[in-house]
């Protein structure tokens, strides 16, 4: 499906459409050709991103391929030379009429109370192509009105027209075949298997593509009528994939987000997180007013002028004693202004990452890949990082399609089997601490196992890396309990085997790539001494050592997100002033001295830069609550208050300044981004300049199990926590191990075990995870009930021991 740039020049396919001689593209689907040529053929089951199934029969048209005209489903036809298609013939019209009458005989026609009413393809087609009246006087089919098929989705089987879109999506696109047709004939219905809800990360897509109101999503049910909605195109900012969306509001509240088909990025699909996280924007406990502490240490509400003045004072202390943490939540424009402001103030310690990412040199020091490059048929993708399904789910769908349908070969170099492992051609499950060593051992002559990986897999990987076709490494942070240097070292080792590799960044947090591009990275401050700029972890360590007076948090919650919990605690305890600019009360704002309320996603215009470096729009649809205001305004006001006029009074002026001063943005047309479904990629060509950091990993100690701490999609993250429909999905903390480890311990899944580590012990429920190698214990990060950050210290790896709980 990916457009190849050097596609051979092809000639058109001549055919006749309603008496007019026209040309289709080679191999073009008849429905697509007709759409392109402006002739609409009604359809229900056809979806351009899924295999056609020809089930609904709505697209029947009279087609003559030389054997006389016959009714054929247009969605199943590839235009062939001299095909004669008649979408208006008597037979076609009768067939359309007939199919619609049949689709409606059992349909409840409860349009007045149906969410889909007003934007329903069944209504629209019935109006445009259907008979005026039904001749059906029998009893209709009855089912229990909507049944929940998951936590988020309801199914009304009476409305369903059995088009197979949802079921096909679940199976073919998401790889979660949890909804199926059951029974047959007129009793056919979509349903789940008993005790297996449709708990897919992608369930919301089925609601969007259902051509009737059979599937509805909990967050939107009965919230609005389509004619009350207004919408604007934007970008999902909850992770770094940058899926294109349309956001819709009614009465100044965001009520719905829909996926928009971008060829280059998300193909119209969204994860449920991207789709439903907008609920957080509307949360009750948004930060609405600037707050400072009174003498008793209590927060008091301030006006912006006062709060800005107080914050400005904190920023005017000695620059080397100030650190700025975060910025990935901000639009590109605000990131730019914060980089300018800190430049003006001479602050060199600024880092948009929270110690849970990677050295930004990995992105600047290696050729960069686009998603399309990674998905090029015949290419090879190496997963060196976290499971994309958990961290970058829309990207996961693209990768899944690539490996499942387009023959892209996958190498896993991960701590455990990823969600794509069934498609992997080489499986290198490196124990925590061993990734670099394993990568270095990849060789066609590998003869011994390394780091828990068989020689055979090492040789297979070498073969794949040496094969034709582009090699793309998706680099992310696989394990928060392991130093990121190991990932960098592994990448360098891969480069030795595949010198033409390109890197697709797997950094997950929102607009992190924009922040890096704008210079919110340590040591990049203009005019500053590069070496002096501290990373987030270094800032926290310096703060703990009394070397920093002020920490500015740009939409960052280090108390929750920096893996090393002890480090954050001691830093917050020691630092004099914490300025937090955020949308929600978090663990960190609760500890801040000055809190400035920022506008949230959906409330401000701006620009997003995804993990490819692709720019797309962020759009305002609703107004901010209370005094909350856009981050770029906060930055501009703070600049003025600190005596540094950045000369920007409007977003347009910020953008002009960006185009003028940031080389990678030269020539970017910000206003044109909304109408460009793909968007320009900035950052250009980068040459390989990485060298391996040296890391020494101690041998596994008496504790016996190496710790893997990674993220799951549904966690206690601030946004999820504030989205009512999603909050309860958060994973609860369990420690999982390979089934064999459970056997050795003599415990059952669900039993309590005691996890012993350097600093103490904790009791947790244990789970079996067949995707884990022996010798590894996994705890999800930011899970409900236990903060895995308390286990993570300074060392390159963390070792733990499990015992049966004493009670």
């Amino acid at each position: 499906m990916t457009a190849t740039e050097n596609a051979p020049a092809t000639t058109g396919v001549p055919f006749t459409l309603n008496g007019v001689e026209l040309e289709a593209k080679q191999g073009e689907n008849l429905l697509d050709a007709c759409d392109r040529l402006g002739v609409h053929i009604p359809r229900f089951c056809y979806h351009p991103r899924m295999t056609p199934v020809g089930m609904c029969r709505m697209c029947l048209v009279e087609i003559d391929t030389g054997r006389g005209p016959a009714l054929q489903p247009g969605c199943m036809m590839t235009v062939s030379p001299n095909m004669v298609v008649n979408t208006e013939s008597e037979a076609t019209v009768k067939a359309q009429d007939g199919v619609l009458e049949l689709l409606l005989i059992n349909h409840p026609l409860d349009c007045p109370v149906c969410d889909k009413g007003g934007e329903c393809p069944l209504q629209d087609n019935a109006f445009a192509y259907g008979p005026g009246e039904s001749r059906f006087v029998e009893e209709k089919r009855h089912y229990e009105k909507p049944i929940p098929i998951s936590d988020l989705v309801f199914l009304d089987r009476e409305r369903c027209i059995l088009c197979d879109r949802c079921t096909r999506f679940a199976d073919e696109v998401a790889g979660d075949p949890l909804i199926h047709f059951v029974d047959r004939g007129a009793q056919t219905q979509v349903n789940t298997f008993p005790d297996h809800p449709f708990s897919s990360y992608f369930s919301g897509n089925t609601v969007q593509i259902c051509p009737v109101g059979a599937l509805t999503a909990k967050p939107y049910r009965f919230k609005a009528r389509p004619w009350d909605l207004t919408g604007v195109e934007s970008t999902a900012a909850v992770d770094a994939t940058g899926a294109r969306v349309a956001i819709q509001s009614s009465q100044n509240r965001l009520v719905r987000v829909l996926g928009v088909d971008s060829d280059a990025v998300n193909w119209g699909w969204l994860s449920d997180k991207e789709r439903f996280i907008h609920e957080a924007t509307d949360a009750e406990d948004r930060l609405t007013d600037p707050l400072t502490r009174d003498d008793a240490g209590e927060f008091v509400v301030r006006r912006w002028t006062d709060a800005t003045k107080i914050a400005a004072e904190a920023l005017q202390g000695p620059a080397e004693r100030i650190g700025v943490i975060g910025g990935a939540r901000l639009p590109l424009e605000a990131q730019f202004l914060w980089a300018r402001l800190t430049d003006e103030l001479g602050i060199t310690s600024r880092d948009a990452q929270l110690g849970d990412g990677l050295d930004p040199a990995i992105l600047s020091g290696a050729p960069r890949a686009t998603i399309d490059r990674a998905c090029t048929p015949g290419g090879t993708v190496v997963l060196l990082g976290a499971d994309p399904k958990e961290e970058l789910p829309s990207l996961f769908l693209r990768l899944r399609h690539a490996v499942a349908e387009d023959g892209v070969k996958l190498i896993e170099l991960t701590p455990r089997a990823s969600s794509l492992s069934s498609y992997a051609k080489a499986r290198l499950y490196a124990a925590p601490g061993a990734a670099a060593e394993v990568a270095a051992a990849i060789s066609t002559d590998a003869s011994a196992s390394v780091g828990g990986v068989d020689a055979q897999e090492l040789a297979k990987a070498a073969e794949l890396l040496g094969a034709d076709g582009p090699v793309t490494v998706l680099v992310g942070r696989a394990n928060l309990a392991e130093t990121a240097d190991l990932t960098a070292a592994a990448l360098v080792a891969l480069h030795d085997v595949a010198p033409d590799l390109a890197v697709l960044s797997g950094l997950r947090r929102g607009n992190i790539h924009g922040a890096i591009e704008m210079g919110l990275v340590p040591g990049s401050a203009e005019g500053g001494d590069g070496a002096a700029g501290k990373s987030t972890e270094a800032m926290l360590a310096a703060a703990a050592a009394g070397e920093i007076d002020t920490l500015v948090l740009l939409g960052a919650d280090p108390m929750a997100d920096v893996p090393n919990r002890e480090l954050v605690e001691s830093a917050f305890a020691a630092v004099a002033t914490v300025v937090s600019i955020d949308t929600f009360n978090t663990a960190s704002t609760a500890r801040a001295d000055i809190v400035l309320p920022a506008a949230a996603w959906g409330e401000v215009d701006g620009t997003f830069c995804n993990l490819e470096g692709r720019l797309s729009p962020l759009s305002a649809k609703v107004t901010s609550p209370g005094q909350a205001r856009a981050d770029w305004i906060i930055a501009a006001e703070l600049a003025l208050a600190t005596g540094h006029d950045l000369g920007v009074g409007s977003l347009g002026e910020v953008r002009s300044a960006m185009v003028e001063t940031v080389p990678s943005l030269a020539g970017v047309d910000f206003d044109g981004l909304v109408s460009d479904a793909d968007g320009p990629v900035i950052g250009g060509d980068r040459a390989w300049s990485l060298s391996a950091p040296s890391v020494s990993v101690p041998p596994v100690d008496g504790y016996g199990l190496r710790l893997l701490v990674d993220r799951t999609l549904w966690d206690e993250g601030t946004m999820v926590h504030h989205a009512p429909s999603l909050a309860h999905l958060a994973t609860t903390a369990t420690v999982s191990v390979a089934p064999a480890v459970l056997d050795r311990l003599g415990v059952q899944p669900g039993d309590q075990v005691t996890l012993n580590h350097e600093n103490g012990s904790v009791d947790l429920a244990v789970a079996a995870d067949g995707r884990l190698p022996d010798g590894v214990a996994r705890i999800p990060f930011r899970a409900a009930g236990f903060d895995a950050g308390t286990l993570i210290g300074e060392g390159p790896v963390v070792d733990v021991r499990l015992d049966r709980a004493s009670s």
């Binding site: 199934v53 020809g54 089930m55 609904c56 029969r57 709505m58 029947l60 016959a70 009714l71 489903p73 199943m76 037979a91 009768k94 067939a95 009429d97 007939g98 199919v99 009458e101 049949l102 689709l103 005989i105 059992n106 001749r135 059906f136 006087v137 029998e138 009893e139 027209i161 059995l162 199926h180 047709f181 029974d183 047959r184 004939g185 007129a186 009793q187 056919t188």
Partner: protein
Amino acid sequence: MSSHTNDGHTNDYVPHAPGYVDNEGPKVVTSRFTYEDSFTLERSLATGGYDGLKAALAKSPAEVAQEVKDAVVLGRGGAGFPAGVKWGFMPQIWPRYLVVNGDESEPGTYKDRLLMERDPHQLIEGCMIACYALGLNQCFLYVRGEMPLAHERIATALNEAYAAGYVGKNVMDTDVSIDIVLHWGAGAYIVGEETALIESLEGNRGQPRLKPPYFPAAKGLYYQPTIVNNVETLANLPWLMVNGAEAYKTMGSEASPGTRMLAVSGHVKRPGVYEVEQGVVTFRELFYDDNYCGGIRDDNDLKMFIPGGGSAPWFFEDQLDIPMEGRTVGAAGSMLGSGALVVMDETTDAVKAALRVVRFFARESCGKCTPCREGTSWEEKVLQRILDGHGRPEDIDLLLEIGTNISPGTYPVASFGDAGLDAVPFPPKQTTICPLGPSSVAPITSAIRRFRDEFEAKIDASADGGVAAVDAESEPVVAAAGGH
């Protein structure tokens, strides 16, 4: 009628299920049917079993395929397509498969069951010959789930054949190796349709695939080239290999050589399966001759008959003298289909008969495509309502109209001399994915065209012209309250 004995064997077999009638005439596939132990390897070998395979292995695969083509072995599963020609459609791609269609469920049909129960070795031998000719090593035998005796006997026969070296590695000490896997269906008529059968065999929901693009010969089982043949089609091959195409063609008509197994049920004196020369014997002979069914029960008048399974449009007196073969029956407006004949005498209620057949298709619709899923159950409901005494005058045309939305154009129908109506030849057109939906239209158009007066009489007799039923439906509470 001749009757073989069991040659003194002490016999603890499950006895044959009834259904076969031993008539005079050439025997190609039923020659062992009257032995009580006809299904054993011993009996098979004593009566020439596996001689056909031996003869085939002595030739090249291409020669075997040519012999089948020369003999014009028409498919016995319904469509009547020549097997040799179908085999020629296979592209030169491996792996490729042979799938044997033993899902026989067409209403009225029970000849494959007898072939599987009474002579499983003949079927296995036929499969082996086909596999050899097609150059493939893997055959799947799909047997209908409701046929436990067939399943059991084939399973036993397969074990015997494997042990004796007729199936498996190095068949009969040649370098040919072929495996046969027995698969038991799960109870759906639609799985008799070859692409639905393939889906079911793959472990999926039994629903047809779309042709194009999924013609099994090109893209079948596991999307590899696959030949699907009916049980009876393959059962012809051992005889053909032993006796040759020339001998085969001395039986039957020029267009349809050989014999057919015809399963007769309904109002005849002696229902059962008969092996009959194709295109030679007429319907009249089959129903009335003493060699076959021996006449209509109680010597009643014939009202109508279904010539080729529930899917076939009905025939009447006018069609009795047509010689039974696919070509002639098709031209006359129906099909010989699966060779199932259902005879109905003058006591039969045409509306009830139509409902009976329509209900079958409504229940068996797989639900994949709209016109069949919705249309067949609508047809059933309207017919049921007419029979329940709530018919409306417009229901007759409504039934025909629903039919045209499943099968557009004029539906195939037999000529009706008295009314000056001409035959419309088979097959029907379809808005559906497979022919199941259109099959439901056959009984309706047949019955209404010929017995419209019976529909009208029922509707005239309706106390309420259908109104009560309709009202009761839309306003149940009011209707109930009105009674008091």
